[in-house]
Amino acid sequence: MKTLRQKLFGLSVPALSALCAFVIVLMVLLIIGDIVLGGWGTLSWEFLSGVPKEGMTAGGIYPAIFGTFLLVVIMSIVGVPIGTITAIYLSEYASQRSILARVVRFAVNTLAGVPAIVFGLFGLGFFIQFVGIRMDQVLTGGVQLKWGQPNILWASLTMALLTLPVVIVSVEEAIRAVPRELREASLALGATKWETIRKVVLPNSITGILTGAILAVSRGAGEVAPILFTGAAYFLPKLPGSLSDQFMELGYHIYIMSTQSPDVEATRGIQYATTLVLLVLTFTLNFAAVFLRYRIRMKSIR
């Protein structure tokens, strides 16, 4: 016969764990609910397509949406090919036990764990103060400050560095899911290793490359720290027209509005609506990536 104490204990464990699980669900609902309720009223076509007005207490966020878009596009153009090539090297060429492969893998894992703000500082120190300043010295003799200051190119490169591990891991997973039989079929027909990679492995990992790109974009769109010193601007009257221009960005815009605005109360609606736009953007991208990844897994099980 169980004692009352044992009975209570037996009940309390599942109850407690259920409670903890419920708290997490509650938090998500609270955050999303609060943002949707707070931002819904301000959201309108004018808000999405207009520019900030009246000291940023009114108007829209189009420049920030455009800047975010441009940021992730440049970031992807740089990061996805580099990540894909690295993944090809790791999974196809490097022997799994080779020192070089281990070093690369260690570097990728380390990169994934570096705090975002460190990337921001690295971007400032390396891209702007090292590369940019030297570019100015070579191009204009140092008379004009063009590349040696924050701009969208340096911000995108910094972001590409931050999102590289995401791309590498996704692409590698997809490449490994390509059945060995297909590679052998190609090689047995007298294809070289590179022909096999180009004609069999890569076409069959295209969803993985896409997943990696989407996850990188979703991560990049949500980070503020890497662009803090490397290119994001408080307010710009016009959209960036060249790689050496600064830009506005959604996450940075939220940060500015909530900490630097002279009248935080007046911007509350805008803050909520901007956050809502950012959340919808990253959630949509994440769902797309989860869906694609699910399809890859199904394929590799078959």
Partner: protein, 254 residues
């Protein structure tokens, strides 16, 4: 052609995976335009031996080979031999049919294309003649654009044979090509093997004793990485010299 009358000769061929010896000093002579069957229980080294002939074992990280494999009297493990050229000459059909997730046409055209043939008319001719030689043309000629994966298992395997034939090999290595097929599809593959041997040298690994008896001219019995007995198929199945061979072919073990 070769001078000694053999298409492929292996001389003291040994192969180990890490510390595990899979082939132990195997010497075997393979006649041109004959079907040579390799039989033996699982893990006896027959598939490893087959894959050594076109150096597919190179793909396995810790596989180490010693001895010689002479194809037309040239040791294919010599440093200056181009493995890509070797594999064009010595084609392979796998146990599990493995068409590319492409159309029937593109599957067969894959080999010619990597050989630099891009002329549409030439490619179409190669595709047609390869499918014909693989006895698949009549079944698929109206939907060459269909995915190779949409075919039945037996048709997929014949598509793989057509794909291998498209690069004009001289030798075909078959690794249990019918083990995943139903009896009717198997019969078609066997019939095809019989027809192909007038133009190709065929080496086939099989688990199916009746199949070896039906399709092959010569049979080698492998056991624990060694050849126990190699002779005419008829002799192996009716009056083997070794006790182990007899036990195996009569189904007493393996």
């Amino acid at each position: 052609m070769n001078t000694n009358g053999y298409k492929i000769r292996t001389i003291n061929l040994s192969l180990s995976y890490g510390s595990k010896l899979a082939l132990n000093e195997v010497s075997l002579d393979i006649k041109p335009n004959h079907v040579t069957a390799l039989i033996g229980p699982s893990g006896c080294g027959k598939s490893t031996f087959l894959r050594a002939l076109n150096r597919m074992n190179d793909l396995i990280d810790d596989a180490r080979t010693s001895g010689e494999v002479l194809v037309d009297n040239i040791n294919v493990y010599r440093d200056d031999v181009d493995v890509v050229e070797l594999r064009k000459k010595v084609g392979m059909i796998f146990q599990k049919s493995n068409p590319f997730p492409k159309s029937i046409y593109d599957n067969v055209a894959y080999g010619p294309r990597i050989n630099g043939i891009h002329d549409t008319k030439t490619l179409a001719e190669i595709v047609e003649s390869s499918l014909e030689r693989a006895a698949l043309w009549d079944e698929v000629k109206d939907d060459l654009k269909k995915s190779g994966l949409a075919l039945s298992g037996g048709q997929q395997q014949r598509l793989c044979i057509a794909r291998a034939l498209a690069v004009n090999p001289e030798v075909l290595l078959m690794d249990e090509p019918a083990s995943a097929l139903d009896p009717i599809a198997t019969a078609k593959i066997e019939e095809l093997i019989y027809e192909l041997k007038s133009n190709y040298t065929i080496v086939i690994v099989t688990h199916n004793m009746q199949q070896a008896a039906r399709v092959s001219d010569l049979t080698a019995f492998f056991y624990l990485g060694k050849i126990i007995e190699f002779n005419d198929t008829k002799t192996i199945f009716t009056s083997p010299k070794e006790k182990q061979t007899e036990d195996y072919v009569t189904g007493r073990f393996g």
